[in-house]
């Protein structure tokens, strides 16, 4: 087990710099999730930690040891890929045992470790099958098994659930999280799915265009996003962000060039909420309603901008009707329109 430290880490491909000097300290045993849109440099960062990509600048330390020039196999890390990458010409047992390729354990100890991993991952009955005869979820479990048997200093996951269907993804999220709790090994996990980030991470690292925008516990990022991008990226549906004018209780929608940007989550913007205690009131015609069961999403427009509010389940307004939705005091995030950085709350 080990901590991972990134110091001013830079990656360039030819003349293009894709990682712009990022700093991060992952504590021993921590589950860190890198999240961000496609192409923001998550995989590149992870692959540099694994040793599959050369470091162009800065340093990577694993367990305190500088590993910039160390071969992947000497870093004692395990990696699970989006496409599973389990060897098709080997059985499940051989695939998992391959994780022990460099291990100095005896034959029986190795076999015992493979059995143990298979038991934990519910693969025992499949040990003598080949990958072609496995489902996607089973294949990914084999890949995890291969990573697990090594007792690595850290696990690296690159979008391991992206190829699974929604139901299996939800199940595997829980399994991986449980595995982490049991093994206590440091995990660096990459995903573009903010739900995965929220549900699994001890700490979320939000990336955009080769920069780290914010790193923090899931609820901390949800409650106190540092900028508009993070605010909109974390949480579904995305936070409403609109230009406003006014102060304190008197915030009102304003056109472009307004002195402030206000952000309010759809869950905090309630149709028919009481006027007193409201920090922001928005009125406009309804364009769509989406009943979800516990609540209904109400899409409406204010000054030409589409917003989403929530309504109680059985009080659904009709399309075209004027609705007023309000956010209570303390629920409105304020951002500087120029820098898009958070400036406070209203």
């Amino acid at each position: 087990m080990a901590d991972i430290t990134l110091n001013r880490l830079v990656k360039t491909y030819g003349r293009a710099e894709v990682i712009h000097g990022i700093d991060l300290a992952v504590a021993d045993g921590e589950f860190v999730v890198f999240v961000g849109p496609s192409g923001c440099g998550k995989s590149t960062t992870l692959r540099m930690i694994a040793g599959l990509e050369e470091v162009s600048g800065g340093e990577i330390r694993i367990g305190g040891r500088l590993v910039n020039e160390v071969d992947p196999r000497q870093r004692n890390i395990a990696m699970v890929f989006q496409n599973y990458a389990i060897y098709p010409h080997m059985t499940v047992r051989q695939n998992i045992a391959f994780g022990l390729y460099t291990s100095k354990l005896g034959k029986t100890e190795k076999a015992a470790k493979v059995e143990e991993a298979a038991r934990m991952l519910d693969l025992t009955a499949l040990l003598d099958r080949r990958p072609a005869a496995l489902s996607g979820g089973q294949r990914q479990r084999v890949a995890i098994g291969r990573a697990m048997v090594r007792d690595p200093a850290a696990f690296l996951f690159d979008e391991p659930l992206s190829n699974l269907d929604a139901q299996l993804r939800a199940q595997m999220r829980i399994e991986i999280k449980a595995l982490h709790r049991r093994l206590g090994t440091t995990i660096a996990y990459v995903t573009h799915d903010q739900v995965e980030a929220m549900t699994m991470a001890d700490r979320i690292v939000v990336m955009k265009a080769g920069h780290i925008l914010q790193a923090g516990a899931p609820m901390e990022i949800y409650d106190r996003p540092a900028d508009v991008f993070t605010a909109r990226f974390i949480g579904t549906p995305s936070m409403n962000v609109l230009p406003v004018a006014g102060e304190g209780a008197g915030l009102a929608a304003a056109g472009a060039g307004a002195p402030l940007l206000a952000g309010v989550r759809p869950q905090a913007l309630r149709v028919g909420a009481p006027e007193e205690e409201a920090a922001l009131s928005l009125t406009g015609p309804v364009t769509a309603v989406e009943p979800l069961g516990p609540e209904t999403l109400v899409h409406f427009t204010v000054a030409g901008q589409g917003l989403i509010a929530t309504a109680p389940p059985h009080e659904t307004p009709g399309i075209g009707a004027e609705v007023t939705a309000r956010a209570a005091r303390g629920q409105v995030h304020l951002f500087d329109p120029a820098t898009e950085r958070a400036t406070g709350r209203a």
Binding site: A50, A85, T102, G136
Partner: protein
């Protein structure tokens, strides 16, 4: 039940379209053209010398005497073994070297990669006939004339095989190799244990082509060998033709026996030429 079953055969016949019939007919004619010389070869090998110009396909008085004679002739066995040794060695060498170079060209980025690749490809454009003189001069210089190595060296690695293997290795996803790199395999072991098993279809095809090419090679072995003990089968068989009178029945018997190893090889390897092996370890 019975009534529900009856329409099925009619449907199946209805599906045979006229286009299919034409295709099948053409293929059948092509197949017949291909197999006729082979049939005559077998047929002639079963005829006594007096009847070989009797062009009936079914021999009037079939005999295995030719086989007995050819097989008991020590020279035939010697040439058969020579050919086997040469073809097997060259095939193994090609499977090894062509794959190694093809893999390197497909999966590593290094300075001069394109230059090397183009240099290899350009040798594909030179016909064997033009190379025979340089090969001969080279063999003479190094004292390789009239030796096994002399027969084999030009074919130990081929541009075609390298090209074929490079194209196949390019279809092997990098994820497999990277996973192996993290699992702690060194680069040679990654090639041997991970990449090679993933290209067995290409490897089998390469093995068949190389074996066939060397098994039937005539021109270069004829030129480079002088002693009869070093003749390969095709060179040896034609020497039947020039001793005294042309002994067609013996040539045909030798040729018929010579097809057996290639048939055996093809049957042994064809099951590896199965597509889709590689993708099984990835997402569907």
């Amino acid at each position: 039940m019975a009534t529900a079953d009856t329409p099925a055969p009619r449907l199946r016949f209805a599906r045979i379209r006229p286009g299919r019939i034409i295709t099948w007919t053409l293929l059948m004619i092509g197949g017949l053209l291909m197999i006729t010389p082979l049939l005559f070869m077998f047929s002639t090998s079963l005829k006594p010398a007096s009847q070989i110009y009797d062009l009936r396909l079914i021999p009037a008085s079939p005999t295995l005497a030719n086989y007995a004679e050819v097989l008991s002739d020590g020279r035939f066995l010697r040439w058969f073994l020579n050919s086997s040794f040469v073809a097997i060695t060259v095939t193994a060498a090609n499977c090894f070297f062509d794959s190694l170079v093809g893999y390197t060209l497909a999966k590593f980025r290094f300075r001069g990669r394109q230059v090397v690749f183009i240099a290899i490809l350009s040798t594909l454009m030179i016909p064997t006939e033009m190379l025979v003189i340089p090969w001969y001069l080279m063999s003479a210089q190094f004292g390789w004339l009239d030796s096994y190595w002399g027969i084999m060296f030009p074919g130990m690695m081929t541009a075609f095989g390298t090209f074929l293997m490079k194209q196949f290795f390019e279809t092997v996803p990098d994820d497999f190799l990277e996973a192996a790199r993290i699992d702690g395999l060194n680069e040679f072991t990654i090639w041997w244990r991970i990449a090679m098993p993933l290209v067995t279809p290409a490897l089998s095809a390469l093995a068949i082509f190389t074996f066939l090419g060397n098994w039937t090679a005539f021109f270069w072995p004829l030129i480079v060998t002088t002693s009869k003990e070093l003749y390969t089968l095709p060179v040896g068989l034609t020497s039947f033709a020039v001793e005294q009178a042309i002994q067609w029945e013996k040539i045909m018997t030798g040729a018929a026996l010579a097809t057996l190893p290639t048939l055996a090889l093809f049957l042994a390897l064809q099951r590896f030429i199965v597509r889709g092996v590689m993708l099984a370890g990835l997402k569907d």
